[in-house]
Symmetry: C2
DNA sequence: AAAGTTGTAACTAATTTTGTTTCAACTTTC
DNA sequence: GAAAGTTGAAACAAAATTAGTTACAACTTT
């Protein structure tokens, strides 16, 4: 089980928009070239980021732009934007426990809070890191200290 | 994206073994009835739990038993036993980033540590809760305070 | 020996994820 | 205002993953 690659692709895309945005038009085609992901998928991801208010794109003109400062975008914002985890939560309960069994009837409730806490631990960690940090690290690796 | 239901099924199974183990033989068939999961899947899960040293089962005789005390089994042990997350980690990187692009070449490394930290936050939370707690909560709901 | 059980392999079905094709709508430039 | 290049989105296809099923050998107990 893995979280959809759309998440890391989205981070990649946003990093490209910041790094290359000053010099050129960052189109879905260019981003497809850098990420290795199909251009339509890139446009889908950009659409989700746009709906979340993270980027701005326009039909025709081409080129995506950040709609927020880098340090105002957390990894959690991106994770939510691309819908990594649905409303059911990170953990998956089997659909048909036997309600005639006292354990089957109650185990969901007994586990739920603890599993939510685990998911929140993950999400809080993502909330604590911003795109600014990731981009800074990327630039460091590219251009040196 | 959700973590395989084998995880919550495994917790369900282990809870049943503890709750019903005194009174009856807890077979894969019985567990299939309580969980609503196919008996072969139950046996697969039991096999993984056995490999991890969490339960004991034997061909022929039937009935699974815990191999450890409830408070020595954490949710993390179960999560590892049923292989929720493979060696690649929780987050999934796309396979074909463009190595000719400075971002494509380096973004993986730039993100990796932070994503590992998020995964560890999740796993540490799972390490902090034991099956004893889950079973106690389940018993409370079943039998009251 | 018979009945019931586990362990495992091979196969099927369902679901999810990713990729592809296609084209209308829009913007810019010539 | 026509041409070129781009986004947005729908419909479809392919690949991968997850869960279920069938079948049967190996084992234990009665």
């Amino acid at each position: 089980m893995q979280i959809t690659s759309k998440f890391t692709v989205a981070v990649h895309i946003l990093t490209c928009i910041d790094v290359f945005g000053g010099q050129m038009r960052v189109t879905s085609d260019f981003l497809s070239g850098s990420t290795g992901v199909n251009a339509v998928i890139v446009r889908n991801v950009l659409g989700q980021l746009r709906n979340a208010g993270i980027v701005e794109t326009r039909q025709g003109s081409g080129g995506a732009h950040l709609a927020k400062a880098l340090d105002e975008i957390t990894l959690y914002d991106i994770y939510k934007a691309v819908d990594c985890i649905d409303d059911e939560g990170l953990f998956h309960f089997h659909e048909n426990p036997n309600v005639d069994c006292p354990v089957g009837r109650n185990i969901h409730k007994a586990m739920d809070g603890r599993l939510k806490a685990a998911q929140e631990a993950l999400e809080n960690e993502l909330k604590s890191t911003t795109l600014a940090q990731v981009v800074a690290d990327t630039r460091k690796i590219i251009y040196g200290e």
